[in-house]
């Protein structure tokens, strides 16, 4: 019997699409968060249990691979499964499919730990949750699994030549019922940073538009060091790690300014594409001619 769990169904709304005319990464994350809630329920962490214990799972690491773009009106569905269970938590995945083409649109591979949402203390999995996770555990050999994230990862420390790419504070309406920022809004910061990154290499949106180019994220890898709470002051610092051929790599440190610590470290792999053919193209020369000494990879 399949141990896959139905975890999401919905569609792409017009207001979830960005200037690239496809669904923005933050809405992939919001749909992933919906799916994560159903996964928790399958493990016995129902909304009632989470509400009463004020404990549940929280992402520790999250990789999102964007396999194919989706556009407004596209119906989507999602499945998830547990790969491994440890004392500290689970390793699991969520797949979001384009229902029209029955094609994989995004893959989320993650680890999650059991956490007290008030104290943020990480706890061992409760026995009943662990039992449920073990019953659902499967290698899922027939289900797509991405190869390990290749190349350099952004370290959890400041590097030279990183620049400010987004700044804000966490609004009440960006938080869940435990006053913690929703995952969608964390990814939203990375999305906001995209234009600043373009500027940092000497491009503008107008130049990009005139060249009929768009940019797309292909792969995200994030490590969550600490939750970000309501009203926190947030600063995102970013830097170009590398750019070669058709692929660029950026590093982000999302800093909780209230605590003066890095809350999230993310590595982003992306590409440019022709807005008409929707096919990837070689990187603009502004990327490939970016001074080598300013690439973060020289410090890794």
């Amino acid at each position: 019997m399949s141990k896959l769990i139905p975890c999401y169904r919905g569609g792409v709304e017009s207001w979830e699409c960005d200037q690239m005319r496809h669904m923005n990464v933050q809405f992939y994350m919001s749909k992933g968060s919906d799916a994560f809630a159903h996964l928790q329920h399958a493990l016995g962490l129902s909304p009632t249990v989470i509400r009463s214990t004020r404990k549940g799972l929280r992402f520790k690491t999250l990789r999102i691979q964007y396999k194919s773009e989706v556009h407004e009106g596209t119906p989507l569905y999602g499945i998830c499964g547990i790969r491994h269970v440890t004392e500290e938590g689970i390793q699991a995945f969520i797949h979001i499919y384009d229902a029209v083409k029955d094609r994989l649109s995004a893959v989320y591979e993650f680890s999650a730990g059991y956490t007290d949402y008030d104290t943020d203390e990480e706890l061992p999995l409760p026995a009943d949750v662990r039992d449920a996770a073990e019953r659902l555990m499967d290698e899922h050999p027939a289900v797509y699994r991405p190869a390990p994230f290749a190349g350099d990862l952004m370290p959890n420390r400041p590097l030279n030549h990183m620049f400010e790419s987004a700044r804000g504070s966490v609004d009440v309406w960006e938080c869940d019922q435990f006053d913690t920022i929703e995952m969608r809004h964390i990814v939203g910061y990375f999305s906001d940073a995209a234009t600043h990154i373009i500027n940092a290499v000497g491009l503008t949106r107008e130049i990009i538009r005139n060249r009929n180019l768009g940019s797309a994220a292909l792969d995200y890898y994030s490590e969550f060091h600490a939750p970000i709470k309501k009203s926190a002051a947030i600063l995102l610092k970013s830097g170009l790690m590398g750019a070669d051929g058709k692929i660029f790599r950026f590093g982000h440190n999302l800093i909780d300014m209230d605590k003066g610590t890095i809350a999230v470290t993310t590595t982003v792999i992306g590409c440019y594409f022709d807005m008409t053919t929707r096919k990837s193209v070689p990187l603009p020369e502004e990327f490939t001619s970016f001074p080598k000494e300013k690439l973060l990879k020289s410090q890794l």
């Binding site: 919905g10 159903h38 909304p47 407004e72 009106g73 869940d176």
Partner: protein, 144 residues
């Protein structure tokens, strides 16, 4: 239920809850909007057709019943069915459930007209859509 398909699955967000501590009515309709992505496809309206500005369905009438409140963090899913049609319109029944308890939280009966998206006028359903509806329609009495 026979004739019903899962059309939405997600959760209630904190920001969707009002001063009464439950999901505000506007977000029930947001779930119907999500569900309709699937219902459009089910009856043969491709997203590419709508995007190309040719044909789509526009709601002209809704009747809602709120049966149980939903709170932040609740997991929910919707089941939907085609329950009727006329020359230019299709009627749907949407049922939103609390996925944890199985309780029916919301019922919505909705009629939408088939619309020429360039002329902005209702038009007769295409033969392809009529055929599809004939395959999947659920009698009104079954829809309760």
């Amino acid at each position: 239920m026979s004739g019903y398909v899962e059309s939405y699955r997600g959760q209630v967000l904190m920001r969707e809850c009002d001063l009464l501590g439950h999901m505000n009515i506007q977000f029930y309709n947001a779930r119907i909007s999500q569900a309709m992505c699937h219902m459009f496809y089910l009856i043969g309206i491709d997203p590419a057709d709508m995007k190309g500005g040719r044909r789509g369905l526009a709601a002209v009438h809704q009747e809602s019943r709120y049966l149980a409140e939903l709170r932040a963090g609740d997991i929910i899913h919707m089941e939907s069915a085609v329950i009727g049609h006329s020359e230019k319109s299709i009627s749907f029944d949407h049922r939103l459930y609390n996925s944890e308890t199985g309780a029916l939280a919301f019922i919505n009966k909705m009629t939408s007209v088939y619309m020429d998206l360039e002329r902005r006028k209702s038009v007769p359903l295409s033969e392809q859509i009529r055929r599809k509806i004939t395959e999947i329609i659920t009698e009104a009495e079954d829809a309760a």
